[in-house]
């Protein structure tokens, strides 16, 4: 790994996004607009908005970074730039870390906006600090990025990559406990939910925004998020092949 090459890769990824102001606007504004929509829909039902809106603040970055990364990585694969990079003196870790830095920075800005709006303006409450929701949001964004990078290897076209969102992310959202507590689900659904990374991302956020003290279960959630991110990055590295058929 070379800090110079990692840094240059991060700068390059950010420059690509900078040339696309509409994507930046979508990245930064859409989560805030969705949160506002929820706020209006649940006007007068403060408790429901709290239960759904508060954790969602930390889940938006996961969903969006998954989508953005899977598309950008797919482009690197299909336009031949990834093959060129693989012939150059740069490590796979430089590519992964470069993407991580660039999207981590974007995720941070995204998280700050949505957390300030939700917890500062719309009256969401986090017993353990809105900053912790923000930190989890950034961690979840990196998890989404790592998963997006990995699954991009299984898409040939951008159409396919976009479909990974309803195919892989929506089921996780439905089963993570956000809409129905998991212990109220059918047994096999709860069993499946234990195997899905978003379950732990949601659980950590739900614990952060509830007044109960943070215990070992919260620590376990965070460890699973970090572990899954690293595992997905390692799997993603395996899909960056120096030699192909």
């Amino acid at each position: 790994m070379s800090p110079r090459v990692t840094g240059a890769t991060a700068v390059r990824v950010l420059r690509q996004i900078r040339h696309d102001p509409r994507t930046i606007a979508l990245l930064l504004i859409v989560p805030a607009v969705l949160l506002l929509l929820l706020y209006w829909v649940f006007e007068g039902e403060k408790q429901v908005f709290q239960e759904i809106g508060a954790p969602l603040c930390g889940l938006f970055p996961f969903i969006i970074m998954f989508l953005v990364t899977s598309i950008s990585m797919l482009r690197e694969r299909t336009t031949g730039t990834l093959e060129r990079l693989m012939t150059l003196p740069l490590g796979k870790i430089d590519i992964l870390a470069g993407y991580g830095l660039a999207f981590g920075l974007l995720a941070t800005i995204q998280a700050v906006i949505v957390v300030v709006l939700g917890f500062g303006i719309l009256g969401l409450e986090s017993a353990h600090g809105a900053w912790l929701v923000g930190l989890l949001a950034i961690g979840n964004a990196l998890l989404g990025m790592a998963l997006g990078l990995f699954v991009s290897a299984f898409a040939r076209t951008e159409f396919q990559a976009v479909q990974f969102m309803p195919a892989l992310i929506f089921p996780q959202l439905i089963l993570c406990g956000l809409f129905v507590p998991r212990d109220q689900m059918a047994g096999f659904l709860e069993a499946i939910s234990w195997a899905l990374p978003l379950t732990y991302a949601y659980d950590a956020l739900a614990r952060t925004t509830s007044p109960k003290p943070l215990d070992m279960a919260f620590t376990a959630d965070v460890l699973v998020i970090v572990g899954t991110t690293l595992a997905a990055l390692a799997l993603g590295a395996l899909t960056l092949r120096r030699r192909t058929g």
Partner: protein
């Protein structure tokens, strides 16, 4: 062609690229059927043959990005694709592999950061490929020929000892073609080994040595003069046809 000792690469006297019995399968079909060849250091070698004859697959094997089914490919004395070669072998794919959503300058500065090329080197290369004053143009908005020159410039940044160029002059106007060939000859004179593919014969005369390919096999390896003498044809395109007829007749 006589083996020329290259003072810049003393560990590989004579040949910079050496391919032996190379077999490549792609999608369940055998694309290359046991190709053997040597490319002299500090020369311009043309890889010629019709579209689909396996030129790109051979080049990918030499760069080391192609999974091979048999044989050996050595570049500068090391196995193709080995780590030490990544800073010594430059590769320009047929489709320009640069970032379409970045400017020319941003593309080149990124590849310069990877290869350790200086800002001065970037300026020099931009001028050499005729893109002066266009650094701020977005690559996606360029013409095909301009885009392929950005791709070429990216590969030149690292001062590679071996340059593999897959159809670098396709779609370029004659003036630009001539300019690119001037660059290629200049690089070879400075000791760089170039392997340049083309599916048209009109550039064959620019090369020191020719590799004639057809249907995944090498028909002949000789200099343009040898090809003319061997076939009695002064036109290299016609000479290639004679070679093909002879190969099919035998």
């Amino acid at each position: 062609m006589s083996p020329v000792a290259d003072p810049q690469a003393p560990e590989v006297p004579g040949s910079a690229i050496s391919v032996r019995d190379l077999v490549v399968d792609r999608g369940g079909r055998e694309i290359l059927h046991g190709v053997s060849l040597r490319v002299a250091a500090g020369s311009v070698t043309g890889l010629l043959g019709p579209s689909g004859c396996g030129k790109s697959t051979l080049m990918r094997s030499i760069v080391g990005v192609q999974i091979i089914a048999g044989g050996t490919v050595e570049v500068l004395g090391s196995e193709a694709g080995s780590k030490g070669l990544r800073s010594r072998v430059g590769y320009v794919t047929q489709a320009p592999s640069v970032y379409g959503d970045l400017s020319i300058g941003e593309n080149l500065r990124y590849f310069a950061a990877i290869t350790g090329a200086s800002a001065e080197k970037v300026r020099q290369i931009v001028g050499a490929v005729g893109l002066d004053g266009m650094e701020d143009r977005i690559v996606g908005s360029l013409s095909g020929g301009q885009r392929s020159r950005v791709s070429l410039a990216s590969a030149l940044l690292g001062d590679p000892d071996v340059l593999i160029l897959d159809e670098p002059t396709v779609g370029l106007d004659p003036v630009l073609r001539a300019e690119l060939w001037k660059i290629f000859h200049g690089l070879a004179a400075a000791g760089t080994t170039l392997l340049v593919s083309s599916h048209v014969m009109d550039e064959a005369g620019e090369c020191d040595e020719l590799l004639l390919m057809r249907d995944g096999a090498l028909l002949a390896q000789m200099s343009p003069d040898q090809l003319r003498a061997d076939t009695g044809e002064s036109d290299l395109g016609k000479a290639f046809l004679v070679k093909i007829e002879r190969a099919e007749g035998s």
